[in-house]
Point group: C2
Chain length 83, copies 2
């Protein structure tokens, strides 16, 4: 079994409305030193396979088909053996 950790990020050129909203709130609350807020996703799950190559294949496909939007996002992942 493996534990997978995936980070899905919008590309820098793509607007991040959630980050913008948080930052607008920050300004209203008087935090004036905060800028460039980007909110992205960190995803964790277990992969119930013994073979690392097969596990990686499944993680990659899961990222490409469900966890990210390939038009506007990039992903990176790490796989760690777990008992």
């Amino acid at each position: 079994m493996f534990k997978a950790k995936v980070i899905v990020k919008r590309r820098a050129a793509i607007l991040d409305p959630q980050g913008k909203a948080a930052e607008q709130g920050a300004k209203l609350l008087g935090f004036n030193n905060i800028s460039g807020t980007r909110i992205n996703k960190i995803i964790e799950f277990a992969v119930n396979l013994a073979d690392k190559e097969l596990a990686e294949k499944e993680v990659k496909e899961y990222c490409e088909k469900l966890l990210s939007n390939p038009n506007i996002e990039d992903f990176e992942y790490t796989l760690e053996e777990a008992k």
Copy 2:
């Protein structure tokens, strides 16, 4: 100036509907080895302060008041000096 990286996670006992949805999609697509998907937030921003203590105070307050919901989420952050 500092670069802040914050991870905001729902507590384990709190349902994660977004993660459940991704996993349901995974099952439909035939990924049968994936379980326990949790989708959380990773947030990056700049803090335009020279003093680390002040920067930390601002990051903490930003997390508590805007980036997380203290009833169901926990956060952790790292601060890194940047030029």
